[in-house]
């Protein structure tokens, strides 16, 4: 069974860096309850001898040639960054 109570939901929110209102907590627990019922039905399918299917098409890992190609500049990549100072992404101080 997935999340069934507020404590496990709180832990999940913390791990995912998300906050919810009390009403959203209730909605989310209702969602999980419905999903748990669905998952129970799916669990009843016999898949013991079935191999997990990660890819739907026979695609093997693609390796590019080890050759220098054109890349984006730092300025281009930082153009949409929320806060940049001196070419670096700015975040709050971690160590006092």
């Amino acid at each position: 069974m997935l999340v069934t109570d507020k404590d496990s939901l709180s832990q999940l929110k913390k791990l995912n860096k998300l906050a919810l209102t009390a009403a959203q907590d209730e909605d989310t627990l209702t969602f999980f309850a419905a999903k748990n019922a669905e998952l129970e039905k799916m669990a009843a399918l016999d898949t013991e001898c079935v191999e997990a299917m990660i890819r739907v098409m026979p695609i093997s890992a693609v390796l590019r040639e080890d050759k220098a190609t054109a890349h984006f500049t730092r300025d281009e990549l930082q153009a949409s960054a929320p806060d940049v100072r001196g070419g670096y992404l700015k975040v709050p101080r971690l160590l006092e």
């Binding site: 998300l18 909605d27 209702t30 191999e51 739907v56 960054a81």
Partner: protein, 398 residues
């Protein structure tokens, strides 16, 4: 009501509209506050393919947040509704109005198929890996596909041909030979089957459209059987697990540091992450992240996520068995003939529940077309057969 996120001032011949999940240098938000004002440093590969084929991009269409909702209702820029208050996807409205000959979008959870069915348009989600996803906002990479919507079969087919092809920049792109089968595959249309497990709980309008499709195909000498295949109904649950797991992983990159929304309310790094994500993601996306995280957690990974991967194989093999006998499988694209904002407000489950109809093709990577308001599912690389069936159903003569 915002149909366009951006609209080009000068549009040439054959205008197409791109869902705002496809990166272009003029901005891509994926329906989310998180990516509002985000400017990509490059355009998606498919935009170049469209230009090379003579299409011009008319603009970017409003989409639901990260494309996982019912009909675009979770967009940060607002839902699109018609005069009756029924939800519609912006790209479908733009095509229906004639402002674009086709719409190209990322089919993550079937919104485009539902929209095409409700708007009476033609749509094709081709075989997985035959259209480049390089330069799309990745959500559920193992099943999401670029799809094409148009007013009729010939325009849909032409626009699809423009974007199908191998792309070395996309690690999931199939070979040029495989892509060529989408464009030039032989038509084999002798037997079709309506899968009864999907027609039991639909409204009268949907039932009528299914019967009309049967009648049209039968009139052309195609045998249409009614069959049971209960295992396909598990695709909804399995795709919900896989989609949310992949979404949770893909959306972990949005932390307010490198790009995207950053909260103004923080003092610590943890607050920066949490407040940025909490302010920017909508409720459905938050729920999907939490569900995805739960199914990937240590205690549930084998029991739930690995199980869903096994069910994916069961479903893919069941479809392959059916396609050995039937050239086209007929199931509705959604259960109702219209949806309102009240419908989606009443249940957070609705986009997941309606995936009952779209998940079999999403999870297995097989092509799925929409025509005459119903969905046609084919074997891999059988797009031309689906287009032929669509022509019969829509009564197109050319």
């Amino acid at each position: 009501m915002k149909l366009y996120i951006s609209k080009n001032k000068t549009v040439g011949a054959s205008p197409v509209v791109l869902d705002d999940m496809i990166l272009t240098a003029d901005g891509t938000a994926a329906g989310s506050k998180m990516l509002n004002n985000y400017k990509s440093p490059f355009d998606a590969t498919l935009t170049k393919s469209l230009s090379a084929a003579g299409y011009s991009v008319a603009g970017k269409a409003n989409v639901g947040e990260f494309g996982i909702d019912l009909l675009g209702e979770t967009s940060y820029f607002g839902a699109v509704t018609d005069k009756s208050g029924n939800l519609c996807l912006a790209s479908a409205e733009i095509v229906r109005s004639g402002e674009a000959v086709a719409a190209v979008g990322l089919d993550v959870n079937g919104a485009q198929r539902r929209a095409a069915a409700l708007a009476g348009l033609v749509y094709m989600k081709p075989t997985y890996g035959t259209v480049s996803r390089f330069g799309t906002v990745s959500v559920a990479a193992s099943g999401e596909c670029i799809g094409v919507m148009a007013k009729n079969v010939s325009e849909c087919k032409a626009a699809l041909a423009a974007v199908v092809g191998h792309d070395a920049a996309d690690g999931t792109s199939l070979s040029e030979e495989a892509c060529d089968r989408v464009k030039n595959g032989a038509v084999r249309l002798k037997k079709a089957a309506i899968i009864k497990n999907f027609t039991a709980n639909v409204d009268d309008g949907t039932a009528t459209r299914t019967e009309a499709a049967r009648a049209a195909l039968t009139a052309e000498g195609i045998t249409v059987d009614e069959i049971d295949c209960d295992v396909l109904t598990h695709a909804k649950t399995a795709w919900g697990v896989l989609m949310c797991a992949e979404l949770c992983s893909n959306l972990s990159r949005y932390d307010g540091v490198k790009y995207g929304h950053r909260s103004e309310n923080y003092t610590t790094l943890d607050e920066l992450y949490t407040n940025s994500r909490t302010e920017a993601f909508g409720e459905l996306v938050k729920t999907a992240i939490l569900y995805g995280s739960a199914v990937l957690s240590e205690g549930n990974y084998i029991q739930v996520y690995d199980k869903a991967l096994r069910v994916r194989r069961v479903i893919t093999e069941a479809l392959a068995r059916l396609h050995r006998e039937y050239d086209v499988l007929i199931i509705p694209a959604c259960s109702k003939s219209a949806y309102t904002l009240d419908n989606v407000a009443a249940s957070k489950q609705l986009p997941f529940d309606e995936a009952l109809y779209t998940a079999p093709a999403s999870i297995s990577g097989v092509p799925a077309a929409v025509a005459g308001g119903i969905q046609l599912i084919g074997a891999p690389f059988s797009e031309n057969t689906l287009f032929e069936a669509a022509k019969i159903i829509t009564g197109e003569t050319e």
